[in-house]
Each structure stands twice: as structure tokens, then as C-alpha cells.
């Protein structure tokens, strides 16, 4: 009996240790989950309507009813920020995943085939990479006309060359390895070699970079929106909200100060996740 109980406590203690260990190893996944919930069902975190005007309580300071206060049209700022995560972080994820996909295909093809395609690609990416991307995105966005779609196009256009470069380099190194030669000897088509044999080797590094770039994309996207090129009012996008706040600097400190914290938190999370993925990559190869 006694032996049984001690064994029981030991087991539960072990289980607790395991839980702590699992939590310390996997907590960045929890971080991802929280942001995904906010993006998919913002209503869960912010029950109020981000677009509902209330001219009786414009520019009200933070209170129990309005956690972040209200904006110049009496809209609940907390709700606008939470919904803003969808437009800022959610759209940034789309941009970076899109750019990574395009870059991987083009870089992979260039790396496998070499020749004139490769040379043309490298010159093109030279021009793109040798340029402040914010300015290029501003130029593209202004020509296409303001809007969230425009910003997606502009940022994808300036982001894919980085991925093409990276993937090309890796493919060049990988394709000399015996398993690729084996696959080729077995009659596998080039496309299948790229998808089935090379892609799995590219993924670990790609995922760490994608996660880091999501943060940078959030900064770029909110910056373009701040300049008026991105989401148009009344869309609650974080950069656009901060731009609106600028004209109320004198009277509403919460309007200026609080929405930026969401941007900061989102970007920091993307860096933490990227760091985590990178250390995982290193330990699994070591």
C-alpha cells in the first residue's frame, strides 16, 4: 500500500516535470496559437464592434467599458486594435508566404537549370535587393493606387527576390549530393526532384526566415498604411489607426500610445518564433 502511494506521487511528479519541460520547449507554439485565434475570431477577444460609431463618447480615455479608450468617432479602440491584428499581421503572413512560394519556385528552377534563366534572375534580384524596399513599395503602391490589395502586391513584389536568392543557393549545394543523382538516374522528373527531394531540405531554413520576415512585413505594411497607401478608413488596420491618432496627439494619449503596442507585440512574437525554429534546426542537425 505504502509503496504504491510513493510510487504514485513519483509518477505524478515526473509527469509534472514533463509538463514543465514540454511547456518550456513548445511555448512559442502557444504564442502562434494566440495570434491565430485573434486573427481568425477577433470577436472572441474584443466583443465590441470595431466600426460602430458613438458620437456621444468620442476620444474617451481608457475605462472599464473601453479598455483602450475610444477614437475620434467614438469607436472602441481595443476592438479596433484586435481587429487590426487581422489586417496587419494576417495580411503580412499572406504576403510573406506568397513571396516565399514565388521565390522558392523561381529560385529552385534557376538553381536546377542554371543557364540564361539563372543569369537573368540573378541580375533582377540584384536590382531588387540593392534597393531600400520601403521606397520601392511606396513607388509601386502609389502607381497602382492606395488600398490593402495594393500593399500586398507591392510588398510581395519587393520580398520574393530574397527567397529566390536563398533557395537558389541551397539548391546549388543540394543538387550535387548523391541522393539527387540517384533520383535523376531513377528517371524522376525535375519538378518532382524539386518538390519531393529538395523541398524537405529547404523547409527548416525557409520556415525560420518566413517567421522572421512576417515581423518585418508587419512593420512595412503598417508603415505604408501610416502614409495612407494601405488600408483605407474605416478599415481598422494598425498603421492606419496610428495615422488617425496623429491628429489627436494633443488630446488623446491613449490613441497614440496603445495601438502601437499591438504592432510591437506581433513583431516581437515573430522574432521569438523565428529564434525558436532556428535553434530547433540547429539541434536537430547537430
Amino acid at each position: 500500500m505504502i509503496a504504491d502511494t510513493t510510487q504514485g506521487t513519483r509518477v505524478s511528479a515526473e509527469r509534472r516535470v514533463n509538463a514543465v519541460e514540454v511547456a518550456s520547449r513548445w511555448w512559442p507554439l502557444g504564442l502562434i496559437a494566440i495570434w491565430l485565434v485573434i486573427i481568425v475570431v477577433p470577436g472572441l477577444v474584443a466583443p465590441q464592434d470595431p466600426l460602430a460609431l458613438n458620437l456621444q463618447s468620442t476620444l474617451a480615455p481608457p475605462s472599464a467599458q473601453h479598455l483602450f479608450g475610444t477614437d475620434q468617432a467614438g469607436r472602441d479602440l481595443w476592438a479596433r486594435c484586435v481587429w487590426g491584428v487581422r489586417y496587419s499581421l494576417g495580411v503580412s503572413i499572406l504576403i510573406v508566404v506568397g513571396a516565399a512560394t514565388i521565390g522558392t519556385i523561381i529560385g529552385g528552377v534557376a538553381g536546377l537549370f542554371r543557364g540564361p534563366i539563372d543569369a537573368l534572375l540573378m541580375r533582377t534580384t540584384d536590382v531588387f535587393l540593392a534597393f531600400p524596399y520601403l521606397i520601392l513599395a511606396i513607388a509601386i503602391a502609389s502607381a497602382v493606387g492606395p488600398g490593402l490589395t495594393t500593399v500586398v502586391v507591392a510588398l510581395t513584389a519587393v520580398w520574393w527576390p530574397g527567397y529566390a536568392r536563398m533557395v537558389r543557393g541551397q539548391v546549388l549545394a543540394l543538387k550535387e549530393l548523391p541522393f539527387v543523382e540517384g533520383a535523376r538516374a531513377a528517371g524522376t522528373s525535375t519538378l518532382m526532384i524539386l518538390l519531393r527531394h529538395l523541398l524537405p531540405h529547404l523547409l527548416p531554413q525557409l520556415s525560420a526566415r518566413v517567421s522572421m520576415d512576417v515581423g518585418y512585413a508587419v512593420l512595412a505594411l503598417t508603415g505604408l498604411s501610416f502614409l495612407g497607401l494601405g488600408a483605407q478608413p474605416p478599415t481598422p488596420e494598425l498603421g492606419a489607426i496610428i495615422a488617425e491618432a496623429h491628429s489627436h496627439l494633443l488630446v488623446a494619449w491613449w490613441f497614440t500610445t496603445l495601438p502601437g503596442l499591438f504592432v510591437l507585440a506581433a513583431v516581437l512574437s515573430s522574432m521569438v518564433v523565428s529564434d525558436w525554429l532556428e535553434t530547433r534546426n540547429k539541434s536537430s542537425f547537430a
Binding site: I138, S142, L219, T222, L227, I242, P259, L264
Partner: protein, 334 residues
């Protein structure tokens, strides 16, 4: 050596040409109807046609392209759609404000970034290094326009420590270099110097905080890598002090990638300054571009894009020329 420099020069020209062509496509081909933007919202088809003709938009694209390129080669950036004034002089008068902001930021950020990166690697895994790591993470993650506004609100408006907009409150000093701080010193106008410097503080902090982390992280990585080299062990074994090994041996070898990156970052600073100028109403080319954006003034937007590219390409060319001076290995290779 000559071959190396020539190759860099050709590369720079190619980038410039690519961007100029790109801006032409963006301003002349993609916009659905630039002439409508010029003629205004209530213009009829006749007026739009007239506007298109006066801007040369009804000529064939290749003809327009040739005009655009030859204009740029003569320093002619075309006519602004919004003000109907030549763009070149307008940008030229706004340029010193931006350059003053960017130069000070660049200088502080380079010293701070490289210095902190060195300490970060030197004190690997000690409290100082963790603090720098944290600082650089937060610095990178800050949206620069928001941080600028927060400083403007709390340090400017609330505390009253710093002015919140513009370059100067007093009358600007006589125009010699266009840099208010330098001009006021040259003319011996000390109050103006204090005033101009005071106005620079917040915008410069915003730009430096935003960028220093990149330099710090790269320096740290590069120095750590270099510290593992056998020659470092040899130097220590021969009895050279830590300071001597770090500054005399490691740092000199580790600084190369950092110099390249500093060149690239100068361009990013030029880009980021648009956001900071908007917040602080700093009368530079960033504000000029921002105003042009509000009126869809394509030639003006593209002119700023081209100017920033030129600045960027020139700085990177300078870096390429500095390289062989700093590093004898490149001199030997090239």
C-alpha cells in the same frame, strides 16, 4: 584592382538604369489615367485630352521614355502634376534637411551599433550581453513612426523637453551648406546652433533606435566567429592582452561585413526618414514625397525614388572603394 573597381561601377550603373526604367513604367504605364489625375476630378474628356497633350502623355511610350531618360541625364525631373512647377529645384531645396537628419543618425547609429555589437560578443553570455540582446530585439520590433509619435507626445508635448516639429524655431542661419547646425556654427550664431541641434534630437533618436540593432547583431556575429579562429588562440598563447587581441586582431578582421551592411543601411535610413519626417513635419524630401502621395503626383514620387536610389548607389560605391583600403586581403585578391 582596376578591374574590381570597374566591375562595381558597371554594377552600380546597371542598378540605376533598372530603377529609372522601373520608375518610368510605374509612372507612365501602370496608372490607369495619369492625365485624369492632372486634369482634376470634374474635368471632361476634352480637358483630360488637353492635359495629356501638355504633359506629352499622348506620345508613344518609347518616345516618352527617351524624353524621360534624357531629362534625368540633364538633371530635369519633369513637372509636378500638382504644383505645375519643375520638380528638380523643389527637391533640391528639401534635400539638405533630409541629409542633415540622415547624416547625424548614421554617424551615431554606426558608432553605437558597432560598439554595442563588440561588447555583446566580448561579454558573451554575461548580463551585459543579454541586456544588449533584449535592447536590439525591441529596437528592431518598434514601428519607427509609432515610436517617433510616442516620443513626440511624452518627451515633447507632455514633458516639454524637446520641440515637437520642424527644424528650427529661430530664423534659420545664412545658407552655406544647408545644414542648419553647421551653418549656424560657421556664422557664429550660437543660439541658432543650440536650437537646430535641439530639434534634431527626437528624429535622430527614432532613426537610431530603429536601425542600430542590425549593426549590433551583425558585429556580434562576425566578432564571435572571428574569436574562434586559431590565430586568436595563438595571440592569447603568446601573451597578448584581451584588449589587444579584441581590438587589434579580432575587430579588424570582423569589421568587413559590417562595413558592407552600413552602406546598405544608409539606404534604409533614407527610406525610413520618410516615416520620421512625416511625424515631425521635418521639411525634407520625405515630407515632399508624402505630400506628392496625397495628390498622386507621380513624377514627384518617382523623382524622390530616383534621388534616393542615386544616394544609395553612390554610398555603396564609396563602400566598395573603401574596402580595399581597410582590408589588404581584398587588395591582394583584386
Amino acid at each position: 584592382m582596376a578591374y574590381y573597381l570597374l566591375r562595381r561601377l558597371v554594377g552600380a550603373v546597371a542598378v540605376l538604369f533598372g530603377v529609372v526604367t522601373g520608375t518610368f513604367v510605374l509612372s507612365h504605364v501602370i496608372p490607369s489615367c495619369p492625365a485624369c489625375a492632372v486634369a482634376g476630378l470634374r474635368a471632361g474628356p476634352e480637358q483630360v485630352k488637353a492635359a495629356a497633350h501638355s504633359l506629352g502623355l499622348d506620345r508613344p511610350v518609347w518616345d516618352q521614355y527617351a524624353t524621360y531618360i534624357s531629362g534625368l541625364a540633364h538633371g530635369d525631373f519633369g513637372i509636378s502634376y500638382a504644383s505645375r512647377q519643375p520638380i528638380g529645384p523643389a527637391i533640391l531645396s528639401a534635400l539638405p534637411a533630409t541629409l542633415e537628419l540622415v547624416f547625424y543618425s548614421f554617424f551615431i547609429y554606426a558608432v553605437l551599433g558597432v560598439g554595442l555589437g563588440l561588447v555583446w560578443a566580448w561579454r558573451d553570455n554575461r548580463p551585459e550581453s543579454h541586456l544588449i540582446r533584449l535592447l536590439s530585439m525591441v529596437g528592431t520590433a518598434l514601428p519607427v513612426f509609432w515610436f517617433a509619435m510616442v516620443m513626440q507626445l511624452w518627451l515633447g508635448l507632455r514633458m516639454g523637453w524637446f520641440p515637437i516639429t520642424g527644424r528650427m524655431q529661430l530664423d534659420p542661419p545664412a545658407n552655406i551648406t544647408g545644414f542648419y547646425t553647421i551653418d549656424s556654427l560657421l556664422t557664429g550664431n550660437f543660439p541658432a546652433f543650440i536650437d537646430a541641434s535641439w530639434h534634431l534630437v527626437l528624429p535622430v533618436i527614432a532613426l537610431v533606435i530603429w536601425q542600430f540593432a542590425v549593426a549590433a547583431r551583425l558585429t556580434q556575429k562576425s566578432v564571435l566567429e572571428e574569436m574562434r579562429m586559431p590565430y586568436v588562440r595563438t595571440a592569447i598563447a603568446k601573451g597578448a592582452g584581451t584588449r589587444r587581441v579584441m581590438l587589434g586582431h579580432v575587430f579588424r578582421n570582423a569589421i568587413n561585413p559590417v562595413i558592407t551592411m552600413l552602406g546598405l543601411q544608409f539606404g534604409w535610413l533614407l527610406g525610413g526618414t520618410v516615416l520620421v519626417e512625416v511625424v515631425f513635419s521635418w521639411p525634407g524630401i520625405g515630407i515632399y514625397m508624402y505630400n506628392a502621395l496625397q495628390t498622386f503626383d507621380f513624377p514627384a514620387i518617382m523623382a524622390v525614388t530616383v534621388i534616393i536610389t542615386i544616394g544609395f548607389v553612390v554610398v555603396n560605391l564609396i563602400v566598395d572603394f573603401v574596402y580595399p583600403i581597410v582590408d589588404p586581403r581584398i587588395r591582394a585578391l583584386a
